[in-house]
């Protein structure tokens, strides 16, 4: 997956986790928490969805990389670059 495709995938996951939110104007450089009503259980949902959809494992010590869209895509790119987008 390309960084753009990873971003789309994260947006799709977020649309399930935060169905009341408008995701069209997400600022990639701002934290999700600043822009969306999200708590630790929501971040665990992102981790779980990535595991379920793509078998991507994110160790607990690295959850901090999921703070913003920008940091998430940067962190996931090496883990997901070999995944073929379905």
């Amino acid at each position: 997956m390309t960084p753009a495709e990873i971003r789309e995938e994260i947006l799709d996951i977020l649309s399930e986790i935060a169905p009341d939110e408008d995701l069209s104007s997400i600022d990639d450089n701002k934290s999700f928490r600043e822009q969306l009503e999200m708590d630790s259980m929501d971040f665990l949902d992102i981790v779980m969805e990535l595991r379920k959809r793509h078998r991507v494992q994110i160790p607990e010590g690295e959850y901090g990389n999921l703070a913003s869209m920008g940091s998430t895509v940067t962190y996931l790119e090496p883990k997901m670059r070999d995944i073929v987008n379905a």
Partner: protein
């Protein structure tokens, strides 16, 4: 003028009244719709399909789920939480309380449940099957969804209530048990306002259907609206339903002080236990429970105008309840009996609270709704005064008695009076 009963002689701060009702039932999502359906003979039972069991029947609720709850919270929570939030919000809205200025630390939430956690546990096991039962795919939401206080806790979260909240597990007597708990806590001054009643999400767990089927107690009929038929010779079991019915309960002194619209007064109640069988009822204990409720309220049986029966449509349960009712109410010629499950199926934890609510408008319109689907009355269930298929107008309605019984031999009775 209603003759004096024991409760009406208590000081106002020991008397508990209903000032709001919120509900969702398979045939109506507010009291007016529900009552209209009961008077018009409108069933809420439909065809239904659930995993593993396949095609069956159920009572399914339709209401505006996002009126009081965000989609995010609905996803995070449970169906029991969602129906509970709807009913609690409606009960408060309809009570006329100045809710923003109510001290939320003095509000108690007491929710009866038949079971809780089956839905989410089944869903998770079904989900991880796709991952070869690898439990690292088990949801982190499972515990907050399945803790036994979940439905009450979701209501507290949604409405910002910081007083006590918990559920009362009481099988199918739970709706009455929730109401009784609310009354007791108000009398003990543990809260100033109680949101009390029962909820059911049971149509979302295949296990409930499968277990009733294995027991030979799951109803079937080619016409879904005729499947739930208590007291009929052709009854063949229970129709499972979801629902919720919660009451705003206040001490009479508080209700008077704010000039609240008082719907009814809860004048007596009783809970006891058969201690004889896991599933089979015991009419002797049921009769004792009825008598306890009457005695506690200082009431003779002939003071009751309408008895809302528990009967679920099982062969044994209906006739056993009738034995208990005959024992207690023998010679009460003006008494009328009806049944709500014939319309909506068995709403489990919500059943007792819903069945009481549907009868409360009789204090104003003096009409006893019927029990429907009785084509051939079982002689063992031929209670004198059973209102069959058509509603019946009564000269007066002062007292309504509500039966709710459950597995493991739990019996409950609530008696309410016109105010």
């Amino acid at each position: 003028m209603i003759a004096v009963d024991r409760t009406s002689q208590l000081p106002d701060d020991q008397r508990v009244v209903i000032t709001g009702i919120g509900l969702t039932s398979p045939n109506g999502h507010n009291l007016e719709m529900f009552r209209e359906s009961l008077l018009e003979g409108k069933s809420g039972v439909r065809n239904y399909n659930i995993r593993y069991v396949g095609d069956t029947l159920a009572g399914v609720c339709e209401f505006e789920t996002t009126k009081y709850q965000s989609k995010r919270d609905m996803r995070r929570g449970t169906r029991a939480g969602t129906v509970g939030i709807w009913a609690a919000s409606e009960a408060i809205h309809r009570s006329g309380l100045d809710w923003p200025n109510v001290d939320k630390s003095k509000v108690g939430i007491y929710i009866g449940v038949t079971e809780h956690g089956n839905v989410e546990t089944e869903n998770e096991i079904y989900s991880i099957k796709a991952y070869d039962y690898d439990t690292t795919f088990w949801s982190h939401h499972h515990n907050p969804r399945t803790v036994a206080n979940n439905p009450a806790g979701e209501i507290a979260l949604n409405m910002g209530i910081t007083g006590p909240h918990y559920t009362i597990g009481a099988a199918c007597a739970a709706g009455n048990a929730g109401i009784i708990q609310g009354v007791q806590m108000l009398r003990l001054k543990e809260c100033d306002l109680a949101i009390a009643g029962g909820v059911s999400e049971s149509i979302h767990t295949f296990g409930i259907f499968a277990s009733f089927k294995s027991q030979g107690a799951l109803a079937s009929h080619e016409d879904p609206t005729k499947a739930s038929r208590p007291f009929d010779t052709a009854r063949n079991g229970i129709v499972v339903a979801e629902g919720a019915c919660l009451y705003t309960l206040e001490r009479l002194s508080d209700a008077k002080a704010r000039s609240a619209n008082i719907i009814a007064e809860i004048v007596s109640y009783a809970i006891n236990t058969d201690a004889t069988d896991f599933v089979l009822p015991n009419p002797e204990r049921q009769a004792q429970c009825l008598q306890m409720a009457l005695d506690r309220g200082g009431l003779t049986p002939d003071r009751i105008n309408i008895v809302s029966t528990h009967a679920t449509g099982t062969s044994s349960g209906d006739s056993q309840e009738c034995i208990a009712l005959r024992n207690v109410f023998q010679g009460c010629d003006t008494l009328r009996f009806n049944n709500t499950k014939s319309f909506i199926g068995h709403a489990m934890g919500a059943a007792g609270a819903l069945e009481l609510a549907g009868n409360l408008p009789a204090f104003q319109d003096r009409v006893c709704h019927a029990t429907i689907n009785v084509d051939n009355l079982d002689p063992e269930c031929a209670l004198p005064g059973l209102v069959i298929n058509q509603p019946q107008e009564l000269p007066r309605v002062d007292y309504i008695l509500n039966n709710s019984f459950g597995m493991l031999g739990i019996n409950s009775v609530v008696i309410v009076r016109r105010f």
